[in-house]
């Protein structure tokens, strides 16, 4: 176990960034999002949640797939190069790391998404435990331990002005090796961390959403949930914006579009899509989800029913609570789960 004083983190970032790209929470115009580290970036490790999840480090909001260049009657197709350089994401929370696992099950199965796979291969995740979880968090419901981001490459904790650093994988070890001379070893660190973890878990117990029950969502409930009249009520305040999907660490839908550059020809790119949008899955004949109710239902059915049905019961929600914070109409997955629960209770 290693540790480094918080005030020396800049040196650590410098050292990492000297070798590879470093993404971490950066405050820009008042908001914290993951961004590339630069000397003048305002790193913010105190804000619990970045506005957007860090999923775009692996699955960018938009990326070019290939470019078609026209020359007279000939058309040349130039595929976009895959990510070849290593990079580090620092400061991901346990829920966000779990979010990447959710994405993996979509993009790393056959057919393999080569763009995503290349980024995953080259990225090292350094996760940071949540010092002060908040009322919008419900990660525990989905089996995430805010105190122990154990599925990252490196797990870290900030305790009393010290960052504790624990490599967990080969990638993590390699990264540690390259910056080791900035660290001090701490034999008693395990104890310190355990105490911190206990404190975090204590807070988690007190949070209002952490005891949300998922009962009734597992098993063969597809048709029952799909046809439930409750959706008719739930969707009504929904404005059909894409905020929930765009801040979500697990939403993985994308659209593929063409951009006519006028000179080069056409760039084909993909960008995040949102099931809340009226033209989501729009086809030539029209749309099979005609109303906002159907689109709204799609999002939650996907997260709580379809995805788990295809992935050994793993939900496509990690309880980060971003949708809870950001929905303009104060709708969110918690309200949906609770509404069904309440209804179940009454029946």
């Amino acid at each position: 176990m290693y540790k480094i004083a918080k005030e020396n983190l800049t040196a650590l970032f410098q050292k990492i960034a000297a070798e590879q790209e470093l993404y971490l929470p950066v405050k820009n115009a008042g908001q914290v999002n993951f961004g590339v580290w630069t000397e003048d970036a305002e790193v913010d490790l105190d804000t619990l949640k970045s506005v957007k999840s860090p999923k775009d480090v692996f699955f960018p909001q938009s990326e070019t797939l290939y470019t078609c260049i026209r020359d007279g009657k000939k058309i040349k197709v130039e595929p976009e190069a895959l990510k070849e350089q290593n990079f580090v994401v620092f400061g991901m929370k346990a829920c966000d790391v779990k979010g990447v696992e959710v994405l993996d099950k979509v993009f790393l199965v056959d057919p393999l998404d080569t763009f995503y796979a290349a980024r995953r291969d080259h990225g090292t995740i350094v996760a940071l435990a949540c010092h002060e979880p908040e009322e919008t968090c419900f990660c525990k419901v989905f089996g995430v331990d805010a105190a122990d981001p154990s599925s990252a490459d490196v797990a870290t904790w900030i305790i009393d002005g010290m960052l504790y650093w624990k490599p967990l994988t080969e990638k993590g070890e390699a990264l540690t090796e390259s910056v080791k001379d900035l660290f001090e070893e701490d034999g008693s660190a395990e104890g310190t961390i355990e105490k911190e973890q206990e404190a975090i878990r204590g807070i988690v117990e007190k949070l209002p959403y952490m005891h949300l029950s998922l009962e009734g969502w597992n098993g063969d409930v597809l048709m029952e949930k799909f046809e439930d009249p409750l959706w008719e009520e739930l969707y009504k305040p929904c404005l059909a914006c894409g905020t929930c999907t765009f801040v979500c660490p697990t939403c993985q839908c994308y659209d593929i579009k063409d951009y006519d550059t006028g000179r080069n020809g056409v760039q084909r790119y993909r960008c995040w899509d949102s099931c809340m949008y009226s033209d989501f899955t729009m086809m030539a004949h029209g749309n099979n989800r005609k109303s906002q109710k159907e689109r709204f239902r799609q999002r939650f059915m996907h997260k709580l029913v379809y995805y788990p049905a295809n992935n050994e019961g793993m939900y496509s929600c990690v309880g980060c609570g971003r949708c809870v914070e950001k929905c303009p109409a104060s709708l969110n997955i918690v309200k949906v789960i609770k509404a069904f629960q309440k209804q179940g209770g009454e029946q």
Partner: protein, 662 residues
């Protein structure tokens, strides 16, 4: 994907001398959709059009780009050529590589590069062109002539003679216009009213002509073939049907202090008046601003003396609504105001007059009974000075930049008439140039100089100074002798510039006819369509289009009539298919487009739509194709982009932008 043919015109050397037409043709083949490209000497020629025909047939073209002169010149030519070969005429776009390229650039490489870009933009546009079909609209077989001067009278008579009903709207109480104020006419010196009065009688009596005097156009709606016009018949206070025109009322009217408009304010008239003896209709009007009855409620003399009982103090303005197929503007002119020309002492001395005032003085029915005399003291003048170009050909903003065209000739006329009638009067004319282009015009002028001894001095007058003894000191320059001239005169006559009545601006706005900075109505083409306004169905007659003398006015009046007759003779008109249309699925029914439509072409209806499977009744904008003129104001107001303009669609203009910025 279209199959586009590109044709590059050399226009002799007009284009080919600065644009490498071969290169442009070759570059065309690199563009998407282009399957054929060729260049030719004169695309607009019979042979050029034959090339288009052949290519359309052989290459099965679906669109054409002609790189040539301005579309304002030959777009119609090429559209017609395309149509003859079976292609929709709206699948043709013009790249203007002459006016916008070869004529303004000197460097061949630069001009060629630009021509290629302009061609690309046109190709991009054709790629998104859709075949358009003009709609049809009806023609109301009735014409309106605005203005009852000689231009309006002639136009009305010609249209009426062709068998179509015509209405004349005249602002003043009588038709006749400026010509009725003239004494003699050049170059024949026949009496103006002798030739005008019969015309006035003729038009008044014509069964197809209906005259609204003392009336103004209130509003104009509609479009070519189907105008709806509101005419305000101002309250005349005299019943037109009852009045016998005996004139007793005018004699007895106690209010006689109003300056006479007809005599240019040189004398006065009564409150109830006909402007002049030969007025048509010979029915007086009561000038309510001058009438004692209207001002104080007491009087009523005219009513008492009228045997016919025609006086009606309670008459009110009447609005008549009438439909017309064609409108002819014949609003004429007036002299400019001379308040900015203090140096000529016009406002200081009664003996400095304008030429139109001189016309009235020379006229037997004028304020002096036709005697040439000084208005200040009634003495006969011995020395007369005429100053030309007062406010015409003027470099500063006090006057007009243009030549008023009639002044040189009428001054020669005045000089000649004076010398003829009063041989003891010396006449001096200060001029910049003497302009006499016209049949027998120069001969006329030379007679003034050679036979009548009129003293012409090339030079301008700097100042006219009234002297204590009542004479006028004229300071001028003789440019030929290069000397200053000081001349004492008894009368000075100013050839003031003529200008369209400023009110014509209001009429032009109602008609949506364009107007230039001098308030002359713009013709559709300066050379080829001089009597038509760019606004369809509006024709121009007389000085409202530009300065003219009487024969020119009459011939233009006839030409305008012929154009109007040509329109009225049609049973149906094809409407411009480049109109706005609204995409039902995107329309919000918010009414913003209707707010900006100048033609009231947009209305709303509740309609059931099927929006990708969602069926609902929605409030939707509907464009009336016959009313829409295709300006596009609605398209930009529409936030959703539901409203688009055919022939100039959003995507087409964007494609042009893209092609240019490529």
């Amino acid at each position: 994907m279209q199959r586009i043919g590109v044709f590059v015109c050399h226009c002799g050397t007009n284009i080919a001398a600065t644009v490498d037409v071969k290169k442009v043709t070759e570059m065309a083949l690199h563009e998407p959709g282009v399957v054929h490209a060729e260049d030719y000497q004169y695309m607009c020629s019979e042979a050029g059009q034959e090339l288009i025909h052949k290519a359309i047939k052989e290459k099965h073209l679906t669109g054409l780009v002609v790189c040539s002169c301005s579309p304002r010149m030959h777009e119609t030519t090429f559209r017609n050529a395309a149509e003859k070969a079976g292609l929709n005429p709206y699948m043709v776009e013009i790249a203007n590589i002459r006016e916008h390229c070869s004529w303004i650039h000197k460097d061949i490489e630069e001009a060629t590069e630009k021509a290629v870009i302009l061609m690309r933009a046109a190709i991009a546009k054709v790629n998104l062109d859709a075949p358009l079909k003009p709609g049809e609209s009806k023609v109301t077989k009735r014409a309106l002539v605005i203005g009852g001067g000689i231009a309006g009278i002639q136009t009305a008579l010609d249209i009426a003679e062709a068998g179509y009903p015509v209405d004349i709207v005249e602002k003043t109480p009588s038709i006749g216009g400026r010509m009725s104020q003239l004494d003699k006419t050049f170059p024949t010196l026949d009496c103006s009213s002798c030739i005008l009065t019969p015309k006035m009688g003729e038009v008044n009596a014509h069964p197809n002509v209906n005259i609204y005097t003392y009336s103004e156009v209130e509003s104009v709606a509609g479009f070519v073939g189907d105008f709806t016009v509101e005419i305000r018949k101002k309250a005349r206070s005299v019943d037109m049907d009852k009045c016998t025109g005996c004139g007793v009322c005018q004699e007895k009217c106690p209010s006689k202090k109003t300056p006479s408009e007809f005599n240019r304010g040189l004398d006065t008239r009564s409150a109830i008046y006909t402007p002049f003896a030969q007025a048509v209709p010979n029915v007086p009007v009561i000038d309510r601003d001058a009438c004692i009855k209207f001002k104080t409620g007491k009087c009523g003399v005219c009513s008492k003396v009228c045997q016919a009982g025609a006086i009606d103090y309670d008459q009110v303005d009447e609005i008549i609504t009438e439909k017309y197929g064609a409108i002819v503007v014949a609003t004429g002119f007036d002299m400019i105001k001379l308040d900015k020309y203090d140096e000529y002492a016009y406002s200081q001395s009664k003996d400095v007059i304008t030429s139109l005032e001189l016309e009235r003085i020379m006229n037997a029915a004028g304020p002096t009974g036709g005697h040439l005399e000084r208005l200040s003291d009634g003495k006969a003048p011995k020395e007369m000075v005429f100053i030309q170009c007062v406010g015409s050909r003027c470099a500063d903003e006090r006057g007009k930049s243009y030549c008023s065209k009639v002044c040189c000739m009428y001054t020669a006329k005045h000089a000649m008439l004076i010398r003829d009638k009063y041989p003891d009067v010396n006449v001096t004319v200060f001029y910049i140039d003497v302009r006499t282009p016209g049949k027998n015009f120069d001969e006329f002028y030379r007679r003034a100089v050679e036979e009548y001894g009129v003293n012409y001095i090339k030079g301008q007058v700097g100042k006219v100074i009234p002297q204590p003894d009542g004479k006028l000191l004229v300071q001028g320059a003789d440019l030929l002798d290069n000397k200053q001239i000081l001349k004492e005169a008894d009368m000075v006559v100013l050839a003031a510039a003529i200008e369209p009545n400023p009110d014509v601006r209001k009429i032009a706005t109602m008609l949506t006819a364009s107007i230039d900075t001098n308030n002359f109505l713009t013709e559709a083409h300066a050379k080829l369509r001089p009597v038509e306004s760019p606004t369809a169905g509006i024709f121009l007659s007389g000085v409202c289009q530009g300065p003219k003398d009487i024969p020119e006015t009459v011939s233009q009046a006839g030409a305008a009539a012929v154009k109007a007759i040509g329109l009225l003779a049609k049973d149906k008109l094809l409407t411009n298919p480049c109109t706005a249309h609204s995409d039902e699925l995107m329309c919000n029914g918010c009414s913003q487009c209707a707010n900006v439509c100048p033609y009231g072409a947009i209305s709303y209806e509740d309609k059931e739509v099927n929006d990708h499977g969602v069926r609902e009744v929605r409030r939707l904008a509907v464009v009336n194709d016959a009313l829409c003129q295709g300006c596009g104001a609605c398209t930009v107001t529409c936030p959703s982009g539901a409203m688009d303009l055919q022939g100039f669609s959003n995507r087409q203009i964007l494609a042009e932008v893209d092609a240019i910025c490529r």
